[in-house]
């Protein structure tokens, strides 16, 4: 099963729509609740990152019997220092984004904790692609 969602820069009002839709689908498929929880935490955080930092992008979700693969690809500034970005507490979020309660530097660590595989490909000035896999076994 394949789903695609669009991400619009700065559109916080619609944040969580992709995660919410994927959650509904996984529930209907009878996926175990702990795996649903992990998936939606990771996807929501990746969605927020793209909304907050990038200039737009797409979310592709593939679900099969054994795993859920989520690819969040944005056209954005890229991440200059991935090691720093992975550190809990590190953030480059704007003051406006922080006022909403984001920008605590917990997003990428949350993604890492809740996925079985995480791959981040990023190029400064081009964009970032985050590939997250949750195994259902």
């Amino acid at each position: 099963m394949h789903y695609t969602f669009e991400i619009e820069r700065g559109n916080f009002a619609d944040a969580g729509q992709a995660s919410s839709s994927v959650k509904r689908t996984l529930k209907q498929l009878g996926v175990a609740p702990p795996n649903i929880k992990r998936t939606v935490v990771a996807l929501f955080e990746a969605e927020i990152n793209a909304i907050a930092h990038a200039y737009g992008g797409t979310i592709d979700v593939d679900i099969d019997d054994g795993k859920i693969v989520m690819v969040v690809a944005d056209q954005g500034p890229g991440i200059p220092n991935l090691d720093l970005a992975m550190q809990e507490g590190w953030s480059t979020a704007s003051p406006q984004v922080r006022e909403m309660g984001y920008g605590a530097g917990m997003g990428l660590p949350n993604i890492k904790k809740n996925t079985d595989e995480l791959k981040i490909e990023t190029e400064v000035g081009v964009g970032t692609t985050v590939t997250m896999t949750v195994y259902l076994a």
Binding site: F12, A13, A15, G16, Q17, S19, S20, K23, K37, V40, V41, F44, E45, I48, M100, G101, Y102, A104, M106, G107, P109, N110, K113, N114
Partner: protein, 109 residues
């Protein structure tokens, strides 16, 4: 302790009646959304001063039945609309986070 009982015991204003008979397992207090996303558990009530629509998005994703807005905080219009769509109970306390959490802890800690 149900959501309804919490409303009565803490004298909360209820802006969206949902999940009133749901049994609450505890509470999580935070204004950092990723903290809630990563650490709150389903069935807990969420105590926060954030009043925008992403609060209900997270509450829905995390199966949080009720959100308590502190210090008389009023939800943005689109947050309240979203709460109605997603069946999230929206509650308002005049108290600050510390007092709300103290009262909740005494009840369901």
């Amino acid at each position: 302790m149900t959501v309804k009982e919490i409303i009565e015991k803490l004298d909360l204003q209820c802006l969206n009646e949902a999940n009133l008979d749901v049994e609450v397992s505890g509470a999580y207090a935070s204004d950092l959304l990723s903290d809630v996303m990563g650490n709150a558990r389903s069935g807990q009530v969420w105590v926060t001063m954030q009043t925008h629509k992403n609060v209900t998005a997270i509450a829905s994703l995390k199966d949080i039945p009720a959100v308590i807005l502190v210090r008389g905080g009023q939800p943005d219009d689109d947050m309240l609309e979203h709460a109605k769509d997603e069946d999230i109970c929206i509650l308002v306390s005049k108290d600050a986070t510390y007092q709300v959490c103290g009262k909740l802890y005494a009840l369901i800690g």
